[in-house]
């Protein structure tokens, strides 16, 4: 099954990023495909390459980056990003900034939209 994942909240601040990641790992393990991961609202904060979370905790940014480098398309909404301070130079590798059309396109082309927020 082809899935689009939508994340509405920022990392650490809210559990949504963790749940989305754990869900995605399980979905991939069961042979489903991720069409696109889209970060909207505070979800765009998942894209920063400038964070330095505690060493004894999970690194949410790196986890996303590894999924992105592994071939999953990960997009931060440009309008939400501009409002919040995220820009291309601050993006983790494997994550890109683009428009809301990327969400519409993904939702329409997927079997399921799975929202976390």
């Amino acid at each position: 099954m082809l899935l689009t994942i939508l994340v509405h909240e920022g990392p650490y601040n809210h559990q949504a990023s963790d749940t989305a990641y754990n869900f995605i790992k399980a979905a991939l393990g069961k042979g489903h495909e991720i069409n696109r991961i889209f970060f909207y609202h505070d979800g765009v904060n998942n894209g920063y390459n400038s964070a330095d979370p505690p060493q004894d905790d999970r690194n949410i940014y790196k986890r996303w980056s590894e999924l992105g480098k592994g071939g999953i398309d990960i997009v931060c909404c440009i309008a939400a990003a501009k409002r919040r301070g995220l820009k291309d130079e601050l993006l983790m590798e494997g994550i890109r900034i683009s428009g809301l059309g990327q969400l519409a396109d993904a939702v329409l082309g997927s079997d399921r939209l799975v929202t976390f927020g």
Binding site: L3, A27, K30, R112
Partner: protein
């Protein structure tokens, strides 16, 4: 339809709203702070049991464990992330975030 609720029913209206809109036979999956609704012996138990006359209720096991919830209301199914994926594979989803 699969509905997910990730807010505590004691602090937020999300689960109340979800229950009011869930069709007969739908599944409500409690995740994150939403799993507090599944806790046995709390004041939401009556409301959840009433809802379970029409809908199925599941709760995410890892979220229950993280919150120290050992006893769920009778009839609540506990699933893991694989079970969550299966529910999504079987149903379209609405998130009551």
């Amino acid at each position: 339809m699969l509905h997910t609720v990730n807010k505590s029913p004691f602090g937020h209206s999300a689960l109340d709203e979800c229950i009011s809109m869930a069709a007969d036979g739908a599944t409500i999956l409690l995740i994150e702070d939403g799993v507090y609704a599944a806790k046995a012996g709390a004041s939401y138990e009556g409301k959840l049991k009433a809802a379970m006359g029409n809908v199925k209720v599941a709760a995410l096991g890892p979220d229950l464990a993280a919150r120290g919830i050992t006893a769920c209301i009778e009839g609540v199914t506990v699933v893991d992330y694989d079970g969550f994926v299966e529910l999504v594979a079987e149903n379209k989803m609405t998130a009551w975030v």
